[in-house]
């Protein structure tokens, strides 16, 4: 590894989700904030072990759904009430016809909510991000297979090249490696 490259942080591998969970609790208690756990699948209970709260992704989805409902309401009402009222079988074309618009309002609410979910997910997870320092660590390719990792970033205030390595080894980390940017 070239020496002049910036240090990104320390990575350590763990044997099992159980070992990873225990280690994550200890890292959390040690007061780190710029660190992450990498797993092949979501390990249940890990949010708590890392000290993370519930995801707030539902908020943008609620807003998106609201916008969808409003869009559909305007899309159906403006032409039908004003621009181009169509009278079919003598049925009303004012607000009394609203129930006939419910299917469209429902569908657009779902459509806008689904798009909000995806865009919020991408933005909140900062994806797509095709380059990331952790990919420089050869062992890390196993994260999508059966590897369980903890990575502590160097920008964390508590980071130290000696102490953080010792801590990761103490909590059961294997192959503790310095990751460069």
């Amino acid at each position: 590894m070239a020496e002049y490259r910036k240090i990104y942080g320390f990575g350590a591998q763990f044997e099992s989700p159980a070992a990873l969970m225990q280690a994550a609790e200890k890292i959390r208690d040690a007061g780190f904030s710029k660190w992450d756990v990498h797993t092949p699948y979501p390990v249940h209970g890990m949010d708590k072990a890392m000290g993370l709260g519930k995801s707030w992704l539902s908020l943008p989805v609620l807003i998106g759904g609201g916008i969808g409902a409003l869009t559909a309401l305007l899309l159906t009402c403006i032409p039908s009430f004003g621009i181009y009222p169509i009278i079919v079988a003598g049925k009303p074309f004012d607000w009394r016809t609203l129930p006939a618009f419910f299917p469209i309002i429902f569908e657009l609410t779902v459509l806008f909510s689904a798009f909000s979910t995806i865009f919020a997910l991408l933005i909140m997870n900062q994806l797509p991000k095709w380059y990331h320092p952790v990919f420089n660590w050869e062992r890390f390719t196993r994260v999508t297979d059966d590897g369980f990792f903890i990575v502590i970033e160097s920008r964390d205030a508590k980071f130290s090249e000696t102490k953080t390595r010792a801590l990761l080894e103490e909590v059961g980390g294997l192959h503790v490696t310095l990751i460069h940017d």
Binding site: P42, V43, V88, E107, V110, L121, N125
Partner: protein, 475 residues
Amino acid sequence: MAESAVTLTTPPELVRVPLVTNDRKHTWITDKVSNIVEARTPLWWWAAFLPCSLIAFIGLLCIGYQISNGVGTWGENKTVGWAWDITNFVFWIGIGHAGTLISAILFLTRQKWRTSINRAAEAMTLFAVVCAGIFPGIHVGRVWMAWFLAPIPNANGIWPNFRSPLLWDVFAVSTYFTVSVLFWYTGLVPDLATLRDRAKSRVSKFLYGIFALGWRGSNRQWRHYEMAYLLLAGLSTPLVLSVHSVVSFDFATSIVPGWHTTIFPPYFVAGAIFGGFAMVLTILLPARLLYPQLDDLVTRQHVDKMAKIILLTGTIVGYAYLTELFMAYYGANKFEFFTFFSARMGINNPGWYAWAYYVMMFCNVISPQLFWIKSMRTNYVAVIIVCMCVNVGMWFERFVIIVTSLAQDFLPSSWHHYSPSWVEIWTFIGTFGIFLSLFLLFMRFLPMICMFEVKLVTPEADPHNHAKKDQEGQH
């Protein structure tokens, strides 16, 4: 009460059948599923793909022929204006519903067995909706005016009628397809990352890398990912129920006898799930035969459970058929009575399509009753035979609803027999070619089993499974 009666014997402990048999490890799952994509293209794949794509090509030629010559190339006439086209549309869109049911509704109800079949079923949904979308597009006749379906004023400044179920259908089907694509792709991202990390060639590493979006399995990402997946499942659940309800409104809001009933939405949704599960099994069982390494992932238990769903929904469909007949008898509407008892069942009538009605009854109501027997649910030959019956039966259901109601409606002077032309027949066969070709491409280039979710249901993934881990560590 004698005291001896109170003594209880402890029941034998019930052991949950594991979802992944033979206690397979994470690496095993990754290897076996990724190998399907990474290995050389097997010979059978070409043997299947070439005929399927040829059939798809013939279908596309027929569509081209119909577009250039007009809908007169079809067998429709002034009385029967909707026939195979709309039958095929409803048939294909219904098939899609099983995929969304597996991916969304079974997710919300915490049915963990869904994990090894959801990816393939969702892919099937997308390809079925692609096939479905062809028919309304070409049956409008002048396809270059299909943009009149969009909610914008057309060339003459006329807006579409937002109170028309046909326009609701445009919204429902396009939303359904879009949301299904988004849901499917969201589920694919972590598995694409697996393929990226295993890829040997630069091209595949680049392509899988692009679509994996740089996924690195961080828990800060999984946290939002799981919420997103839950929300998409929550959105897809009412969506899938709405799509076939709206499709049924195309019929139910008209006054044609045999269509004008309030039972249609739940009846159509149950039928869609029923037909969809039959199609899932129709394509999963051969896939399982061709990839024996998947036996531990798609087990007899999965087939058994899907057969149970077919039995349940098939019985609901049968109940709906009988309710329709009862209402026709009890409702004192002579046109409806005629449609059901004469046009469909063939009583006191030439009964042009009575045979279709009995095919439908046998395939949809009687054949799935075989699944009351456990040995039949786990016997693959029996399952595939019943599923084939259901595929046929569900197509005939739509044919019976659409054509018998139209061919003989209110005025005997306007009755007209309908039979399909070769263009219609080959267009329909062609959509099977499109569907199977797309599915074969999916099997070849994308992981057909959701690896990360399957790993999650293995005992190894349980973070509280300390004892087992310690034992393994000592080996």
